[in-house]
């Protein structure tokens, strides 16, 4: 049965309409055209209609929007074999070029505003998107691959950030720790430990992975709900230690207490690499129009995210990844096939923690400080929501979920409520109370962001429980697990 015919009533109705207005045999004539033509024309027709409607209603399409549409259309026309590589390649190229596009003084010439969502996210938001995507991909190894529900992932995020703070800040000065290994941007006459960020990232990852093992060993004997509760507890313990690890409570200053630790050294490649390879010596000292410290943070974060994704995919297809999925499917059978349960689960935990640590360390150096209030239970749930929304087990889905939710959190909700306030609601900005969700005929959606994410998750669970871009296996589970397979194909019989 052709996919076109099952394409639905709209398609059939369209042909009936065309034949109704006198185009005899329009359908048969169309379907006898060469396939490439059949593929190439429909998007053009749709685009013409959309652009025509936009023009008629007084909207001038931006050159950027048209450029993007042309790129999409070009990708659409490519043969399937090439498209498989061309689509990720194009997305990657756009991601790399993004700072150059958005930092234009003439924004409208290169980019465009989207209805409701307004302008594209700033680079600051993009850095956060990359950081959260890294964490979501890490959590996906635990939840998506191995099927272990972890409600305390924020612990690894915090541990990574604090490791960065310990290894690259003046924090250790009072206790006599003075050590410099490639750190950049150290003020004159300041002591403390200053290790190069690239070593810090690795160190943070290893410390956090070790932390994952320490937390994992006692907890991973538990299953399902019990595991979730205990991980939740560990997440809270780490956050509380961060909050209370100061001199008054511990006798020595471990975490700086409520104000946290700052400043953390900025990233950079140091003088030697700067003079010999032209890499930026200190990110904070760069202040060009296009290549400035935010875009450098962004490109590095993007690089780290790509490494994370690469590792995640390699692991999934390895012997260990198979063992994780087997454990997720059936623990008893997995053990009977020679998979050591504790060890394998602990590896899942440690791998997930590893990338959480990298993300945390990068976040710390981006914010140039760690603050215990950044690490609360809500973050664990937020990252878990990204995994669920995107599609548990599928790396690309998880990245998409992370991008979407992080964007909403830092910009999207504010943009959307602004759109509602100017276009839909009788909003009077002067009488709006910024502390209230609804006041003076205006809404302030970011105040109830958690509720909105909750609603999104409920919506996804009802409409598309496997997530936006589901893992192939899970999709199968959701598709065939719920409905019975009909004995013969009744649906097609009914359609004829």
């Amino acid at each position: 049965m052709s996919s076109r015919r099952s394409g639905g009533r709209v398609y059939n109705g369209l042909w009936r309409l065309l034949e109704g207005i006198g185009l005899k045999n329009a359908r048969t004539r169309w379907e006898s055209q060469p396939p490439w033509l059949q593929r190439a024309v429909p998007p053009l027709v749709i685009a013409a209609i959309v652009i025509g409607v936009a023009w008629a209603s007084g909207v001038t399409p931006d050159s950027g929007a048209i450029g993007l549409l042309v790129i999409c259309y070009a990708l659409y026309l490519l043969p399937r074999r090439i498209r498989r590589y061309a689509i990720p390649g194009t997305i990657l190229a756009l991601a790399i070029l993004y700072p150059l596009l958005i930092q234009q003084t003439n924004y409208q010439r290169f980019l465009f505003t989207v209805p409701v969502f307004n302008s594209f996210p700033t680079i600051d938001t993009m850095v956060l998107i990359a950081v959260f995507a890294m964490m979501a991909v890490g959590l996906n190894m635990v939840v998506g691959y191995a099927g272990l529900l972890d409600l305390g992932y924020v612990a690894f995020y915090a541990l990574g950030a604090y490791t960065a703070a310990w290894l690259a800040s003046p924090h250790a000065e009072p206790i006599g720790g003075n050590f410099v290994l490639g750190g950049v941007g150290i003020p004159e006459g300041v002591g403390g430990i200053h290790v190069s960020i690239w070593i810090v990232l690795l160190a943070a990852a290893i410390v956090t992975a070790f932390g994952g093992i320490v937390i994992g060993l006692p907890t991973l004997r538990l299953r399902g709900d019990y595991l979730a509760i205990v991980t939740l507890g560990f997440g809270e313990i780490v956050a509380e230690v961060a909050r209370n690890g100061d001199k008054e409570t511990l006798g020595f200053d471990l975490t700086g207490g409520p104000p946290g630790i700052n400043p953390i050294d900025p990233p950079g490649f140091g003088v030697w690499l700067s003079t010999h390879l032209g890499l930026p010596a200190n990110f904070l000292e760069k202040s060009g129009t296009y290549i400035n410290f935010t875009s450098l943070f962004y490109w590095s974060a993007l690089g780290l995210l790509l490494i994370t994704i690469f590792c995640s995919i390699r692991l999934r297809d390895s012997r260990l990844g198979r063992a994780w999925i087997a454990i997720r499917e059936d623990e008893v059978a997995a053990a009977a096939m020679g998979i050591p349960l504790m060890r394998t689960k602990t590896w899942a935990y440690a791998s997930g923690a590893f990338f959480g640590g990298v993300a945390g360390a990068w976040y710390g150096s981006f914010k140039q400080g760690v603050f215990p209030d950044d690490f609360y239970f809500g973050i664990s749930v937020f990252i878990l929501s990204m995994v669920i929304l995107g599609g548990m087990g599928n790396v690309w889905g998880v990245v998409a979920g992370a991008a979407f939710l992080t964007y909403l959190n830092f910009e999207g909700l504010a943009n959307i409520s602004q759109w509602f306030n100017t276009h839909v609601l009788p909003c009077n900005a002067i009488s709006q109370d910024p502390g209230k969700v609804v006041s003076g005929g205006c809404v302030n959606a970011p105040l109830v962001s958690t509720g909105i994410y909750g609603a999104i998750i409920v919506g996804v669970m009802l409409l598309r429980p496997e997530g936006i871009i589901p893992e192939r296996r899970r999709q199968l589970e959701f598709e065939t697990g719920v409905h019975d397979e009909p004995l013969m194909d009744v649906r097609h019989a009914a359609e004829e």
Binding site: L315, S318, I339
Partner: protein, 259 residues
């Protein structure tokens, strides 16, 4: 008479609370033989099985496999030492393909670990390639060719049963434990399965322990039969002897059948 024993249990016992599920069972499997364990429902067969494979920890007694006491060791340790098993109710990894199921079975025979796998070292790549090759051969050997990329849940019932065996064989067992392998099969499929068991012993030099309900099958293939009832061994011997044993008949058919 020194018989080469692959498996020996000594006074193996399992209690669940006050219930004695398996009561001090002495049991041996000579290398290269096909031994069956039968008994009515609830006789403790599967519990016994689970103690050998490490799923349950014995309350008392020893499990000696290939000269080593493995009682109380976790299941993966038993598998590493060469005990492969299938399950009474099929427990395949439903959301994995047939090939992946077999590859999971090879887990303890492969070495590729986390960092080499991420780096994609040639050694790991070669190992993976060879594992896939061997997995395909196993699928063919177990008569499920052409389904390697099908999800296990989409296979026909008989194919699922055979895939379980293929997966167990992938662990390179010395001893293969089959828990009611012909449950739900029709007589024709059961006959084919009997041939398959003989083929396994011939080709792979396997020792096989069979738990079965199907008396006809058991009588036909077993070198020796052990009968459990209420957790106790009530008879042991060759098929025709066990068949005539009064306690066995009583256990299966009730007291009236004996008198």
């Amino acid at each position: 008479m020194a018989v080469d024993l692959l498996l020996e249990t000594v006074a193996l016992r399992k209690e669940f609370g006050g219930l004695v599920a398996v009561s001090d069972v002495d049991f041996t499997i000579p290398r290269g033989s096909i031994v069956s364990l039968i008994g009515p429902n609830g006789a403790g067969k599967t519990t016994f099985f689970n103690m050998i494979t490490g799923v349950y920890k014995p309350t008392d007694g020893r499990v000696i496999f290939d000269g080593e006491d493995i009682g109380g060791k976790p299941p993966h340790a038993a598998t590493e030492r060469g005990i492969g098993r299938t399950f009474q109710n099929i427990r395949l990894f439903q959301q994995m393909t047939a090939l992946e199921n077999v590859l999971v079975g090879m887990h303890s025979r492969l070495r590729g670990h986390i960092v080499p796998s991420i780096l994609g070292l040639p050694r790991v790549r070669r190992e993976e390639r060879e594992a896939r090759e061997r997995a395909r051969e196993l699928l063919e050997y177990c008569d499920i060719p052409g389904h390697e990329d099908d999800y296990a849940r989409n296979l026909a019932y008989g194919d699922q049963r055979r895939l379980e065996v293929a997966r167990a064989l992938a662990t390179r067992p010395k001893l293969l434990l089959l828990d009611e392998p012909t449950a739900g099969m029709n007589p024709q499929e059961t006959l084919e399965f009997v041939d398959f068991i003989f083929k396994l012993r011939e080709d792979e030099k396997l020792t096989i322990l069979l738990i079965e309900h199907d008396m006809k099958l058991v009588m036909g293939v077993s070198d020796r039969i052990t009968v459990l009832d209420y957790g106790e061994k009530i008879a042991e011997g060759q098929a025709q002897d066990v068949q005539k044993d009064a306690r066995v008949i009583e256990a299966y058919l009730g007291k009236a059948a004996v008198s």
